[in-house]
């Protein structure tokens, strides 16, 4: 703990929202693709994204590091530069953590936030008749990852979406103000995360790929490489946009302050399977998590 004490005392929290995430080298990030600064920033943003999806404001962060023997103090310092940059962006404080030696380079983060009264969004709150929406462009982070893997340097805005996502607290505030009850962040990919909502809500979801807004950079990348951008949007993960379900008339109000939001499908009464019309060959972006 920073003050040398065993635990951190925080100010009163009326609606404590708490989340944890693990980021591991060669599973969640690769140091030939990202700087230590970027790894640190992204680890915090990913963890905070779960708070955004819960309508919580980040207060405090704990970071446990596992450091292999070949890592230098300079590398660890640069990692903390990134961690602190993300903390400053969201006005949260680093309040504790441990550093231990290990075989893995691994970052365990634990974030504490203040939720809002009487509204804790759940995956299980989607209803038949709701539309399914995203708060902004998707598929770009996965295209950026593919650029890194292929040494494709023509699309820096895609790579940036992969290396330095920003948790969408701005969009979360707009959804919260309209009382949207079903929200999650898109970490695994639209198709997989929509399936989580369908299963938790006991509904079926029908995608509307024809209505997807395709980012111009993603379109250009897919054009150059002969790919279907809608498939990347359905399967690609790590965008950290918010996926939400609400009545279409509520979405109309949301879209005014959030013009980049768009509809990706609709929620139906359960019709035998969670996703009605998943194109062939779609598989959610996976990290090698054991569970």
């Amino acid at each position: 703990m920073p003050a040398g004490d065993d635990a951190a005392l925080l100010a009163s929290i009326k609606h404590p929202v708490i989340t944890t995430d693990t980021q591991k080298e060669n599973i969640h990030f690769r140091l030939d693709w990202q700087t230590f600064d970027e790894v640190g920033q992204k680890a915090v943003e990913i963890t905070f994204s779960d708070l955004a999806a819960s309508y919580a404001t980040p207060l405090a962060l704990f970071v446990n590091l596992s450091i292999p023997s070949h890592m230098t103090d300079d590398m660890i310092e640069e990692l903390y530069v990134g961690i602190n940059a993300a903390l400053n962006r969201h006005k949260a404080a680093l309040v504790g953590g441990n550093i231990s030696a290990g075989l893995d380079f691994s970052i365990d983060l634990f974030a504490v936030g203040e939720g809002i009264p009487n509204l804790f969004p759940l995956r299980s709150a989607a209803c038949p008749g709701d539309g399914l929406y995203v708060t902004g462009p998707i598929g770009m982070a996965r295209a950026g990852l593919d650029c890194l893997m292929q040494n494709e340097t023509q699309f820096p805005e895609l790579i940036q979406k992969f290396t330095t996502p920003i948790a969408r607290f701005d969009a979360a505030r707009i959804l919260a103000a309209r009382g949207v009850q079903c929200v999650m962040d898109i970490s695994d990919g639209l198709s997989g995360d929509a399936r989580h909502i369908a299963e938790a809500s006991e509904i079926s979801i029908e995608f509307d790929p024809a209505g997807f807004h395709i980012d111009p950079a993603l379109l250009a990348y897919c054009g150059k490489h002969g790919l279907d951008p809608r498939l990347l949007m359905l399967s690609g993960g790590e965008d950290y946009e918010l996926l939400f379900a609400c009545k279409p008339e509520i979405f109309e109000q949301i879209q005014k302050p959030l013009p980049e939001a768009f509809c990706v499908g609709r929620c139906l009464s359960y019709a035998g399977k969670p996703i009605i019309n998943l194109p062939e060959g779609i598989r959610s972006f996976q990290h090698g998590e054991k569970k």
Copy 2:
């Protein structure tokens, strides 16, 4: 998160006290010495011990696991048996966490507790004139570890102190009721942890080894192996008893409900070094932590 959601919403916490700990195979535990059940129990107790030392009641625990490929589901299940046993003992709930593949078998724990009003014990709160006390027997866990390393099977009560310590919430309540302001748990060993108090409080500490209460099992073990029990008590870590400083007249009140507590030294005005009379050859029990 257990409910399949991104974050956990807890009930209001007036005085949130939060702590984190990391337990790694071959640094903090060895599977030829401890069962998975014991590893799980101890990981929770060690983490909760920091809450006890902060006068906080444990509410919620998050556990992130890093699991190497050779570990089976049965092993992970047995680990959770231990984690749940410790949680039940202290009436706290497992509310989230991740499991990821890794080279290390590593357990990252984050514990959330409810502190008490207007009293958050600090290492920096010891004053000249205070006595320095422990809440119970020390040195036994280190002797138990030595028994495991030497295949010495004659002292199961020492081994048990090493494998299954219990966080001293009972003793913490007694200290809190008397307003004791300087408390920490003895994880690294009396000499090293007393040094933390001396440095944080800008005082000097003089040990009184002649007054140490020596546990009969520790005495027998030391007699058999030709060791000085007082050296083991000063240097041995992992007892997870509480170390505290207060006025001697306060300690008299504490000792009635806590007869196993005893005095280990006294706090003096700073006299050039934090520890006045450390016997030769004492080194705090170290884990190979990088910092």
